[in-house]
């Protein structure tokens, strides 16, 4: 029973993919109505199964493995398609299927009337399948398949609006950057196999202690490369803001709530290895802290509503990495959960704004919307308060916990980075709120009278997410008190080996923790007040400041020129190398070829004369021979063949040199 239900979780969306996919390929045999019902219905079923599995796991938190089928096994390698059910998996399952379900429902309204409606849902469900494999897999290969699968769906969905050139470019960029991360991950898998001879988590983590520190460090770093790619951390963060080219529900589901958090999940899942490599763990923390601040500063000046949120996502993911880096794995997952709630809420309500404004995304052409779309305004306000760290909302609990851990464990620099990022977060989110919803309306006239509140099918998911954003943090407090809530008690067995690191925060004495909470709350309020001052009290101030600090402003507005630097440093040289190799390979002697071509034409005329006057008058046999020879020789003389043969000989010379230098002389000496 347990095995069956666990297996069914990814199977439901898979069936929906097959049905909707076939429907698309066979020319739309059934209507959009059936297509979307299949899509969200399957996710709902998965969600219900996940809840049931959670109920089963509450009793016994020890991990259970469910083998779906034996996949491939060689002499010394067995890989099964199998699932690992433990508290961490349960939490991830609930987040993925729960938030996923709400976003599916929302999409029904948002995507209404779009071309490729069924295709969209097929991709979305395919994403759900991959994401479920990712979080449920009991070994690295299943994780990797889910990992690649989500990347693939992300690629397909970013490029969904195929009529936009930028969408296709963004999709390719996302995929290629992700592949760089994946290469690191794949190497980590190989290293794990080389060290343990198996790829099953339970066996590996049970024997993790036998790993020497150098091996642990290299595995941890390779895993980190994978996580950095998927979770858009420095220096592989550039793809995520561009990924906003996809439809907004996609941004909410894939590029905010679930897929991008896969890196955090992976680090937490592998904490046994990270615990053996403190240096690698520190690097995780530094990457997270720097990314958190870096992305937050870019968020300060962006003018596209979705891009602000995208940088905010990068920044919040940085917080989660920071938490992992200081050993606060539970806090990382806690923030992952609350972030899924409020970031999905923010994206979806931003989508509602965009929907209301007929596709406008530039906040400079918004303003004064609060009275026109009151429901959207309400939920957006809740989301902003949650992410900015308004007391007692979900984001406040989790962010405080992360910063508290950083401070208590003595990572004062990381704490400072995080606190500054938190200030920026409060500022840019409040700014977004003010510029979008308050003040004068700057909406274009032709758009103005089309403004309408979104249909209920979009609003209800927003309300549910708003509710979760408000109360979601309480699972971390009730019943055990601060940092000892249900959530922590439930997850503690998973990260038990983290030892003291996981629990030290509240042992340090509550006073320090309360002071830190007060400090971060003040920081949040300060961020809000700065925005209030700039955008409400003195609306002319931002422009003044902008003019005064032109250099810094341009730097940030252009995202520190990281994209351009990558283009110059990698993409262009790469293409140049390719081109020059290509030239050397084919066209290096173009000029000679052209010259030879001309001569060849002459000779062709000559041999045509021969053909006419000699061959057809002569013996057929010689005619054949000549014809063949002429045709063949004509091309031989293009010079290319000699050139190629020469390269072949050059290769031979190199090999002979290698032999002489290394093998023979080396062997003789």
């Amino acid at each position: 029973m347990f095995d069956l239900i666990v297996t069914l979780i990814p199977v439901f969306p898979l069936l929906a993919v097959l049905a909707n996919g076939l429907n698309v390929m066979l020319g739309h045999r059934y209507s959009h109505e059936i297509a979307h019902r299949l899509a969200w219905g399957s996710v709902l079923l998965s969600f219900l199964c996940s809840v049931w599995v959670l109920g089963q796991t509450l009793g016994h938190p020890e991990p259970r493995t469910v083998v779906a089928y034996r996949w491939f096994f060689g002499a010394d390698l067995t890989v099964n398609l199998s699932f690992l059910i433990d508290p961490l998996t349960c939490i991830m399952l609930l987040v993925v299927t729960g938030v996923g379900f709400l976003i599916h429902v929302y999409s029904v309204g948002y995507m209404h009337g779009e071309e490729g409606f069924t295709r969209f849902f097929a991709y979305m469900n395919l994403f759900m399948v991959s994401m479920l494999l990712l979080v449920m897999g009991s070994n690295y290969v299943v994780l990797f398949i889910g990992w690649e699968g989500v990347g693939l769906c992300s690629y397909l969905l970013i490029g969904y609006y195929y009529d936009r050139v930028s969408a296709a470019k963004a999709a390719t960029k996302a995929f290629v950057v992700n592949r760089i991360g994946d290469a690191g991950f794949l190497l980590a898998i190989f290293l794990v196999f080389a060290n343990f001879g198996t790829l099953e988590y339970t066996e590996i983590f049970a024997r993790a202690g036998q790993l020497d520190s150098a091996a642990a460090f290299s595995i941890a770093i390779c895993l980190l490369i994978g996580a950095v790619g998927k979770s858009a951390q420095l220096p592989l963060h550039t793809w995520l803001p561009d990924a906003m080219e996809g439809p907004t529900p996609v941004s909410a589901l894939i590029h905010a709530a679930t897929m991008v958090t896969a890196g955090v999940y992976m680090v937490v899942r592998n904490h046994a290895i990270y615990d053996l490599a403190p240096d690698a763990l520190l690097i995780v923390g530094v990457v997270g802290g720097v990314t958190a601040l870096f992305a937050a500063t870019i968020g300060l000046v962006q003018t596209d509503i979705k891009r602000v949120l995208a940088y905010s996502t990068v920044s919040q993911l940085g917080f989660m990495f920071l938490a992992c880096g200081v050993g606060a794995y539970v806090a990382a997952i806690f923030h992952l959960v609350t972030h899924a709630f409020f970031k999905a809420l923010l994206f979806l309500s931003a989508g509602s704004v965009i929907h209301a404004l007929s596709g406008e995304q530039d906040i400079r052409r918004m303003g004064g919307l609060w009275s026109k779309i009151p429901k959207t305004h309400g939920v957006f306000l809740v989301g902003t308060a949650a992410i900015a760290g308004f007391p007692f909302l979900s984001g406040w609990w989790s962010k405080d916990e992360i910063l508290g851990h950083a401070f208590v464990h003595g990572h004062y620099v990381l704490w400072a980075l995080g606190a500054t990022a938190a200030f920026c977060t409060a500022f840019y989110m409040s700014r977004l709120l003010y510029v979008t919803f308050y003040g004068e309306s700057r909406v274009a006239h032709e758009v103005e009278h089309h403004i309408h509140e979104s249909p209920n099918v979009m609003v209800y998911p927003l309300l549910v997410l708003a509710f979760l954003s408000v109360v979601g943090g309480l699972i971390g407090v009730i019943p055990g008190g601060l940092e000892n809530g249900w959530f922590h008690q439930f997850l503690q067995p998973v990260v038990r080996s983290a030892g003291a690191g996981g629990e030290a925060a509240h042992e340090e004495g509550h006073l320090l923790v309360y002071i830190l909470m007060a400090v971060t709350t003040l920081i949040g309020v300060a961020g809000w007040f700065t925005a209030h001052y700039f955008y409400k009290l003195k609306p002319e101030q931002p422009d003044l400041l902008m003019n005064r600090m032109k250099g810094a402003y341009t730097l940030i507005l252009n995202k520190y020129w990281v994209d351009e630097a990558y283009d110059k440093a990698f993409v262009e040289p790469g293409k140049a190398v390719g081109r020059s190799f290509d030239k050397a390979d084919t066209a290096g002697i173009d000029r000679v070829v052209v010259a030879v071509e001309q001569v060849t034409d002459l000779s062709a005329a000559g041999s045509t004369w021969v053909e006419k006057h000699v061959i057809y008058g002569g013996l057929n046999v010689t005619g054949y021979a000549n014809h063949l020879a002429a045709r063949v020789l004509r091309r031989l003389q293009s010079g290319l063949v000699h050139h190629y043969a020469a390269i072949l000989v050059a290769g031979l010379v190199v090999l002979v040199n290698l032999i002489v230098l290394f093998l023979w002389l080396g062997g003789a000496s």
């Binding site: 398949i145 091309r635 043969a645």
Partner: protein, 492 residues
């Protein structure tokens, strides 16, 4: 002196069937009416079917017990049987593909089927020969047929150019190979693999002539598998040849050459493994780097696939460099899977027509998803598989070969391979991008204008087999892995 026995003849039964079939096609060709030439294709398929059945029976009967034939020049073993089955299957698919494609390209030459069969018989000899002379003759028989087939598009100068280039360079490399064989013979007094192995055992380590012979063999085989720097012919020949022939070269000839490469180096030169390993590591890295980097800037899909096939030769060479049981099995697995995905990709190219021509530019794929969903979908599948993205078979192939490298403590090589495999996603994805994320051009001169997909039942069958192969081997790779592992060469 031994006289040929019935057992010997039985040992080459599949080869005999294929050779006789090839000759019969030549005889039957003038006897068939002009509008019935398709029957020759069906006849060839029947021959292949018979050979497949016999080969399959051998495979089952032979696991673990090689039987020498023809006084040690030939062997009947599971290793050879595995490759033969793969090659017969590929040949059958190419015949099906060509049946429609030759008509589209207005190539009115039923000799095509005869050459496929002759070439196949050469490959079968290559994979089972245990004497360098026999292997060399098989290789020449294979190559000769390919030289001719490359020039089958007689009205197109590019095709003739491809044939001539392939011929000249192929002969050149054969000469080098022969030189290596003669040096080996001179040093060890034998041309059989077993005799050479024994001869090497009696030589002092680091014998210069032996090393030189090994270097020359690397060049000869490196040319046939298109390894850098012996790859120069590949893009030109792949681009110029009729696409169905290109598919055959890229898949079958590469597989057969790898089979012989492996057998010669592991069985005959296993004693100086450390020496050739160093050379091949250099070749292998150069091949992966150049293949993947140059593929990025190609605009012609056949050239792109040519560089991609160079890169894949680089990955497969890893298995040879590893030179243990896992390495051998992973090469077999790799080339079997590679056969499906590459054949599929070329099959899609054969079906694409731009005006009256073959649509072989990447631009011709623009907006294909809107013109023909199925063609775009299978192409997407093949591109993903070539890029090694799970759950396609390409992932399994790469996974196994990289795993073999890590298992043999060659992590550095695995790192390079993984990085370049990641880079390769860029150019495979570009095809997917133009198919799915662009609109087909509506006016003359824009990409994708006037492109249509000509689907014949035979070509659809090929695509179906290839696509199912890529999917099924990705999800249920186990039977193939088992087959490869039970058919590896006994390592000495």
């Amino acid at each position: 002196m031994t006289i040929v026995s019935t057992a010997d003849l039985l040992a080459i039964l599949p080869e005999l069937l294929v050779m006789a079939g090839g000759c019969l096609v030549l005889v039957l060709d003038p006897l068939t009416a002009k509008d019935r030439k398709d029957w020759l294709a069906y006849f060839s398929l029947a021959v292949l079917g018979a050979a497949f059945v016999v080969g399959y029976w051998f495979m089952g009967a032979l696991t673990g017990s090689p039987r020498p034939a023809f006084s040690g020049l030939y062997v009947l073993d599971a290793y050879g049987a595995f490759w033969k089955l793969l090659l017969i299957l590929v040949s059958g698919l190419v015949i099906l593909l060509a049946k429609a494609h030759l008509k589209l390209e207005e190539i009115d030459l039923p000799e095509f089927y005869a050459f496929i069969l002759l070439s196949l018989s050469g490959m079968m000899v290559m994979v089972s020969g245990t004497d360098l002379l026999v292997i060399y003759l098989g290789l020449e028989l294979m190559s000769l047929s390919l030289y001719v087939m490359a020039g089958f598009k007689r009205y197109a100068p590019r095709s003739l150019e491809a044939a001539a280039k392939y011929f000249i360079l192929g002969s050149f490399s054969s000469g080098i190979l022969l030189y290596g064989i003669s040096l080996l013979f001179g040093r060890t007094g034998s041309t059989t693999l077993a005799g050479i192995r024994d001869g090497i055992a009696g030589l002092p380590p680091g014998d210069p002539i032996l090393l030189m012979a090994m270097g020359l063999l690397v060049v000869g085989f490196g040319f046939k598998v298109a390894a850098v720097p012996f790859h120069m012919w590949t893009p030109d020949v792949y681009e110029g040849s009729p696409t169905s022939v290109t598919a055959y070269m890229a898949v079958a000839s590469k597989a057969a050459s790898f089979a012989a490469f492996l057998r010669v180096f592991l069985e005959a030169l296993g004693g100086i493994k450390e020496s050739w390993r160093m050379l091949l590591v250099a070749v292998c890295i150069a091949t992966m780097v150049l293949g993947n980097v140059v593929a990025i800037v190609q605009t012609n899909i056949k050239r792109m696939l040519a560089y991609s096939s160079i890169a894949h030769a680089g990955y497969a060479l890893i298995g040879l460099v590893v030179a243990d049981a896992a390495g051998t099995a992973s090469v077999m697995l790799y080339l079997a899977i590679y056969a499906f995905m590459n054949l599929g990709a070329f099959a899609v190219v054969t079906m694409l027509r731009r005006g009256g021509l073959e649509g072989d530019e990447i631009d011709d794929f623009t907006g294909l998803a809107r013109r023909n969903k199925w063609a775009a979908l299978v192409m997407l599948l093949f591109m993903f598989s070539l890029a090694g993205i799970p759950p396609t078979a390409g992932f399994i192939a790469k996974f196994y070969i990289f795993m073999a490298a890590v298992g043999a403590n060659m992590t550095g090589l695995a790192v390079i391979a993984v990085v370049f495999a990641a880079i390769s996603a860029y150019f495979y994805l570009r095809v997917v991008m133009v198919m799915y994320m662009k609109e087909p051009g509506e006016t003359a001169g824009t990409p994708g204008y006037d492109v249509r997909v000509v689907a014949s039942p035979a070509a659809i069958a090929v695509l179906l087999v290839a696509a199912l192969g890529v999917l099924i081997l990705g999800v249920f790779p186990d039977p193939l892995i088992q087959a490869a592992q039970s058919a590896i060469l006994p390592l000495k």
